[in-house]
Amino acid sequence: MGTDLLERRAVISGVGQSAIGRRVERSGLQLTLDAVLAAVEDAGLTLDDIDGLAMFPGGGAANLPGYANGNLYEVQDALRITTTWRQGIIEGMALPFYGPAMAVATGQARHVVVWRTVKEGSAARAAGGRPAYGAGKPVAEGPLAWLLPIGMLSPVCQVAPYAARYMHEYGVTREQLAWIPVTQRAHAALNPDAVYRSALTVDDYLAARMISTPMCLYDCDVPADGATAIVVSAAGTAPALRAPVRIEAMAGVVEGRPSWEQWEDMGRVGHGAARAMWARTGLRPGDVDVAQLYDGFTIEAVWWLEAMGFCGTGEAGAFVEGGERIALDGELPLNTWGGQLSGGRLHAAFGHTAEAVRQLRGEAGARQVRGAEVAAVTNVGGLEAGAALLTRWN
């Protein structure tokens, strides 16, 4: 352990976002360019400094409308960037900054921009609701071949059995878990870029329509349009950067079956990545000042609360009940931008990473957590999993 860790040779130097909303009337490419340019400026760099580009997802990934935007070739062509390292990833990203950090730590590039651009808000509107898988392809391939034919037509249906099993095993209730979306909505009210900012109550949650039991509308993240870009730089360039943030530790362990329906223990997810991450740092869960935990669905935030050791396995219901512990002035402020549940499904922990950086710089405005020095960031949980700690530069 110590300074020879690869991630200590990398810093997150910039974050930038396009307009974010249920519907933003710009192409995926224009949203991407907005975010990339903002992130590079935020880092205190110019485009001429950039020598690495990365995006998620690469290629023609995913059979979901609006999911993949901001093609790497088009962005590189538009910005006239010469790259010494590139990455377009479908599987195995772990965290947005994971691959870029390895690239700058090993000298393959000095400043890498990685982006994620979604147009799923517009796609949902066009489909008359959250789209199903399969709108783009007539047959279900690979892992989806076991899910789409039987009617598991959305990520909601894939994740719902995890929530059902978790609640069954540990006796956790919807009344308890409601406090995650309810508290995050209160945070979103302080974030001008959040998609949903109006107050949400536990009663609203309990009255909401079911999508796929036990998950209701407010357990699902909000399909959105928007782009997030992150600049990752070699730590040696820090003197030239405006406000870098350290990567204290990161890990991307996937243990168990990387499959939505075959995951062996649906009550416990993400523990392998979290354990590996904690083995790379002397910090402990009690040192974390602010937590940006992946929340594609409420239950995913539950996985990470427990996997990261912020509470014990099966204890997340009691931990979040009442909302005090996860509020901005609580012991573990959770998803301070509103998370994907209210801030928008910017996906793959790009929104979470951007918020962690802002909190550690003291640039989070009305939702700033006072004295935030250590931030946790996690991504997905099962078939993809990443966990990291980011820390303030000084």
Binding site: G129, R130, P131, A132, Y133, G134, K137, P138, V139, A140, E141, G142, L144, A145, W146, L147, L148, P149, I150, G151, M152, L153, S154, V156, C157, A160, P161, Y162, A164, R165, H168, R209, M210, I211, S212, T213, P214, M215, E261, Q262, M266
Partner: protein, 136 residues
């Protein structure tokens, strides 16, 4: 029974035998010729000993629901909701968990731990899809 709307599976070298047996109302999984371990979904290799010679074994006993969801969202035109989807495991068949529809009881009566019989129903593209039946 009307066919369930949805997206049909792509059939591959590994999955063809499963879908062919499904059409006959039989649930088959891969079984290793070397060590006897069963694997699902089929990968053409034993997940236990990594042997490459796999035969097909039929599972005939009752299963137990590991977890489930009742879907209320009409994801596709013509999709009848709500419906229950169950993840079923089989006593004596470690390594095998099969996802399917549930019938034989109202969706809201689906529960973790309930016993189900193996079955299939007409699905998209002329395929027969797993459709477990609540045991009396």
């Amino acid at each position: 029974m009307d066919a369930t709307p949805g997206i049909p599976p792509a059939v591959t070298e590994e999955t063809g035998p499963f879908w062919a047996a499904a059409r006959e109302g039989r649930l088959v999984v891969e079984q290793c010729a070397s060590c006897g371990a069963e694997s699902f979904p089929p990968r053409g290799i034993c997940r236990s000993c990594r042997g490459r010679t796999m035969v097909h074994a039929e599972i005939t006993g009752r299963g137990t629901v590991y977890s489930l969801t009742v879907n209320h969202q009409r994801w596709l035109p013509g999709l009848q909701v709500p419906y229950a989807i169950v993840l079923v495991e089989f006593p004596g068949h470690p390594g095998v968990r099969v996802a399917g529809r549930l019938r034989g009881c109202p969706p809201e009566e689906a529960a973790i731990g309930m016993t189900v019989d193996i079955g299939f129903e007409p699905g998209p593209g002329g395929f027969a899809i797993p459709s477990f039946v609540a045991a009396p």
